[in-house]
């Protein structure tokens, strides 16, 4: 029941904010803050309640199931496991920050703004919980329109172009995925006689190799555009740089993650053979993304575009890790999803704060800001270091594990990918140098961070350090999800005997602590 409440409270809060926003400007902010905080507390207390014992069993932590459109075998089916729970916590955490960052940022149509914000979050929550492919697609699309409005109404100068581009890219790729979903639906129906969009039943579907490849690419195109992977990334720099700060935060922190989540949750379990076959190709794309993103990030003069391209680079690591298909890399990927959301989100917030103060995103007009804003400088230092992968901060764990896992799968690609770390050091340090150090450019009085901004940045900083020192909590939470992935990959789906929705991976459960050591020794 908690699952439906999480979505419901966001949608209801959004509507309320919109309605009240017509009379009062301040209320929508408070309403959204309360709604998102309530959701956050619910998720966190759920996590604490179930930690760590529930995360060891193979059962789903929580389910909600009811009929929706029975004629087509569509049900309203939500369920979460460790992976979903991590993503949900992230969603609500960043949701709070998004509301806080737009506290003074948004000056007109406050009610409608918060409506959009909360509905995006609702759509994202739905994506992380949906266990019915139709429902998944439904949520996948729901978040687009509010995001379109968020960029198109409250963005900066070139907002309309960016909003179009974002919408058309994601919608087109989403529709192709929808075709693939329908294809899967009919193949399953013709094989088994039961027409259903239920994830658990579709997992066991026997699909001929050729069709499996086509369907997998149908799914992948949607996720790869969202992630984004070169050459489907061109919407991202525009959307990120034109969106309002909260929009960039949600785009980088959550929307991109839905792509990775989709691959982990749907592509690998549904099409394990095709995924394995084309794994090297996707790893290659990931590596191209790492290098390409990093090089382009270095050559940007627009702060937000720079950060946007670092996202492309970081998401390349995610792609590389997922298609390495081993436990280490999967752990790294999940870490990377969280740490990238925190560190890049923080950089976007910083860019927004700088823009609010000196009204530009151009690096040439910045410089020497540290002396004027020491607190902001210190915060920026932490996240620049996180972005370049300094040990002790979360990103290091993530990227290290991914490279470790990928090394076993493909040595040469990993070697090239490792160069990405050097590049990331180059562009991260460049941010620090151009913005905070160097020659001073005379600006009028600039205020340093106030208490609200310190709360935002401080909580992010604590989180990234916590992730860097205690990643075990995350691994334990996601342990079963990763084991399941390994299980799907090990089952030979090409056999004539189709496996029906078996999630019984008990015999497969391997203690995670031991495995990495074994792998390293090998």
């Amino acid at each position: 029941m908690i699952l439906i409440w999480l979505i419901g409270i966001l949608m209801f809060g959004g509507l309320l904010a919109w309605l009240i926003g017509r009379w009062n400007r301040a209320f929508p902010r408070w309403i959204s803050l309360y709604t998102v905080s309530a959701g956050f507390l619910a998720v966190i207390s759920f996590w604490i309640d179930h930690y760590p014992f529930a995360f060891r069993s193979n059962n789903w932590l929580e389910q909600f199931h009811t009929e929706w459109i029975p004629i087509f075998g569509i049900s309203f089916h939500l369920a979460i496991d460790g992976l979903s729970l991590l993503m949900l916590s992230l969603t609500f955490f960043l949701g709070i920050l998004a509301v806080l960052t737009s506290w003074t940022d948004v000056k007109y149509q406050v009610g409608f703004y918060h409506f959009n914000l909360l509905w995006i979050l609702a759509g994202i929550c739905g994506v992380f919980m949906a266990m019915d492919l139709f429902l998944f697609y439904f949520f996948w699309e729901i978040m687009l329109i509010p995001m379109y409005f968020l960029i198109g109404i409250w963005g900066s100068e070139n907002r309309v172009y960016a909003a179009y581009k974002f919408f058309i890219f994601t919608q087109a790729s989403g529709l192709i995925m929808f075709l693939a979903i329908l294809g899967l639906y009919f193949i399953h129906g013709q094989n088994n006689g039961s027409y259903t969009f239920n994830y658990f039943e579709l997992i066991g579907t026997y699909i001929p190799a050729k069709i499996q490849t086509i369907l997998m690419f149908g799914f992948m195109i949607a996720f790869v555009v969202k992630l984004p992977i070169v050459p489907f990334h061109s919407w991202l720099p525009d959307a990120h740089s034109e969106a309002p700060t909260a929009g960039s935060l949600i785009l980088a922190g959550l929307l991109l993650k839905t792509g990775a989540y989709g691959i982990l949750r749907f592509v690998i379990p549904l099409f394990p053979m095709a995924a394995k076959e084309y794994g090297p190709l996707f790893m290659l794309l990931g590596v191209v993304g790492i290098i390409y993103g990093a090089v382009l990030a270095y050559s940007q003069s627009d702060l937000k575009r720079l950060v946007a391209y670092t996202s492309v680079s970081h998401m390349g690591f995610v792609m590389l890790g997922i298609f390495a298909f081993n436990t280490l890399a999967f752990q790294g990927v999940i870490m990377q999803l969280l740490t990238h959301a925190v560190s890049t989100g923080a950089l976007f917030i910083l860019a927004g704060m700088i823009k609010e103060r000196i009204h530009t995103r151009n690096l040439d007009q910045m410089g020497g800001l540290w002396t004027k804003m020491p607190r902001m400088g210190a915060m920026a230092m932490i996240f620049a270091m996180a972005s370049l992968g300094l040990p002790g901060l979360g990103n290091f764990i993530a990227e290290f594990l991914i490279l470790l896992g990928a090394f076993k799968a493909n040595i040469w690609l990993t070697v090239v990918a490792t160069l990405g770390l050097i590049f990331s050091a180059v562009y991260s340090l460049r941010i620090m140098k151009r913005v905070f150090l160097g020659s001073k450019i005379n600006h009028q009085k600039i205020k340093d961070l106030n208490w609200r901004e310190m709360t935002i940045m401080g909580s992010l900083a604590i989180l990234i350090i916590w992730l860097g020192f205690f990643p075990q909590v995350i691994f334990k939470t996601a342990e079963v999800s990763i084991n399941k992935l390994q299980y799907y990959l090990s089952v030979k789906k090409m056999d004539k005997t189709p496996q029906t929705s078996s999630l019984k991976t008990k015999h497969e459960t391997i203690s995670i602590k031991k495995k990495p050591i074994k792998n390293v020794r090998k």
């Binding site: 729901i142 687009l144 909003a163 919408f167």
Partner: protein
């Protein structure tokens, strides 16, 4: 004719007698308001009579007509659209210099024609229905005779419709020559028994397709659409886009099922070609338009293409897909044109896209309603348009028509651009405290807004929870 025959024809009889009744009311020199309200009442009666005759379906009035679940459904859609058109017409025509009263007579006649199409199973009734519909439409399109565009639209439609009727008649004649019958079921019976010359028969069908294709405005018979949509008064455009297309599509479907047109490969190939052409051309031509009515015209061409995609597989699912999509399309289009109508003023229709700039700040309700309608036309979740598109894709993929499904998806992505353009226009611009436009007829204005909100609610409701509607349709159409 027996008593039950009359009962089965109740909706048609009500519509026919309503037009006479309204004429009498006009002759008695009642005001526009009375005329409008009484026609509204009559439409409501006609609509509710559909529920009344639900018990006796299927009912055959040999040889011309059949009243079954499908025709009842289509009639419901047609009468409902006319009802909405009637509601939005009052303010629109009250402000114009022409006497608005005869308009309602014509509206009843056109509705009658479209309904006859929906129940016909014979060439004679088909042609009768079509002509009642089109002759009424000539007058309706040119109703505002002071406007150049209006006259142009009427004459254009007159010439092309007459031309296409000739094609239709010639096609019917050829089919009659080969099969010796004009009844759909008789034709299919004779097709199996007699030695039919296939070239002549397919020529006949092709010629009929030209005629029908013109009425549906599918590519390559679409030339008239944009001009007529633009020139006709906005409520009339709403009628053309919804009721008249619904009726023609229904009869096309019935004819195809009866003669088993799906067994003719060439015919299906032609339909596939028409569908692909309509979807791509319609959406591409809409991209550069600056006139909202023209945009909606081209978008309707594309939507008829989508409907054909559902139509081509010919499975049982495709019948539901067609019905559901027609419903979604008609509701959405009505909403869109209703907004255009409400925003129109005395001198011109609100057709320039610039007029929609910053609408959200001036008229939040209208802007919201219009956005919902456009989003539904674009087929994005939470709206009926999405469920309709899902139905269509399911129907065509089930039967393995991958090519047209992919074309549908790609062209609807193109379509997104111009729908978004209007939406962006409405939400952009500065928040200016403009002088509130004077609402001439507050009561009617409120009624309009109420209707619009109801329609929007239905669009969203069918988009989120279509289960009840689907079950209702299955029960109705399966009978």
């Amino acid at each position: 004719m027996s008593e039950s025959d009359f009962l089965a024809l109740l909706p048609l009889l009500i519509l026919a007698s309503s037009s006479v009744l309204i004429m009498l009311i006009i002759a008695m020199r009642f005001s526009h308001r009375i005329v409008q309200l009484s026609s509204l009442l009559l439409f409501l009666i006609a609509f509710s009579s559909l529920f009344y005759i639900r018990q006796i379906i299927p009912y055959f009035l040999e040889p011309l007509l059949v009243v079954d679940g499908f025709s009842l459904f289509i009639m419901g859609l047609i009468i409902f659209s006319s009802l909405v058109v009637n509601i939005i017409s009052y303010i629109y025509f009250e402000e114009k210099e022409e006497s608005p009263k005869e308009y309602y007579v014509l509206l009843f006649l056109c509705t009658l024609g479209a309904c006859v199409l929906a129940v016909s199973k014979h060439f004679i009734s088909l042609f009768l229905g079509l002509e009642i519909l089109t002759v009424g439409l000539y007058a309706l399109m040119a109703y505002l005779r002071g406007r150049n565009h209006s006259i142009e639209a009427g004459i254009k439609y007159l010439i092309l419709a007459a031309f296409s009727s000739a094609f239709l008649l010639f096609g019917m004649a050829l089919i009659y020559m080969e099969t010796g019958s004009m009844d759909f079921t008789e034709i299919s019976k004779n097709l199996q028994q007699l030695e039919v010359s296939v070239p002549v028969f397919t020529t006949g069908i092709s010629l009929m397709m030209v005629g029908i294709g013109f009425k549906l405005a599918v590519v390559p018979f679409h030339m008239w659409t944009a001009d007529v949509y633009q020139g006709a008064p906005a409520p009339v455009t709403a009628f053309i886009a919804t009721a008249s297309k619904g009726g023609v599509f229904a009869v096309l479907y019935r004819f195809f099922i009866a003669i088993d047109g799906y067994s003719y490969r060439n015919l299906i190939l032609t339909l596939v070609f028409i569908a692909i052409a309509s979807m791509t051309v319609g959406n591409l031509l809409a991209l550069k338009q600056k006139n909202v009515k023209r945009i909606l015209a081209y978008s309707s061409i594309a939507h008829l293409g989508y409907l054909l995609v559902a139509f081509i597989p010919g499975s049982s699912l495709s019948l539901f897909a067609v019905s559901f999509y027609l419903l979604a399309y008609i509701f959405t289009t009505l909403t869109a044109f209703a907004v255009v109508t409400i925003l129109s003023d005395k001198d011109s229709d609100a057709e320039n896209i610039q007029q929609y700039q910053a609408l959200y700040w001036r008229e939040p309700v209208l802007a919201f309603v219009f956005s919902t309608a456009l989003i539904s036309l674009a087929g994005i979740p939470l709206t009926a348009g999405f469920m309709g598109k899902f139905y269509i894709l399911a129907a065509s993929i089930q039967s393995g028509y991958w090519l047209i499904s992919i074309v549908l998806i790609l062209s609807s992505v193109i379509g997104l651009y111009y729908y978004l353009r209007i939406i962006t226009m409405m939400f952009s611009g500065n928040k200016k405290k403009e002088v509130k436009i004077r609402k001439v007829h507050p009561a009617f204005y409120k009624a309009n807004i109420f209707t619009l909100c109801l329609l929007t609610l239905l669009i969203v409701w069918f988009g989120i929870y279509p289960k009840d509607l689907m079950l209702f349709m299955q029960n109705l159409i399966m009978h």
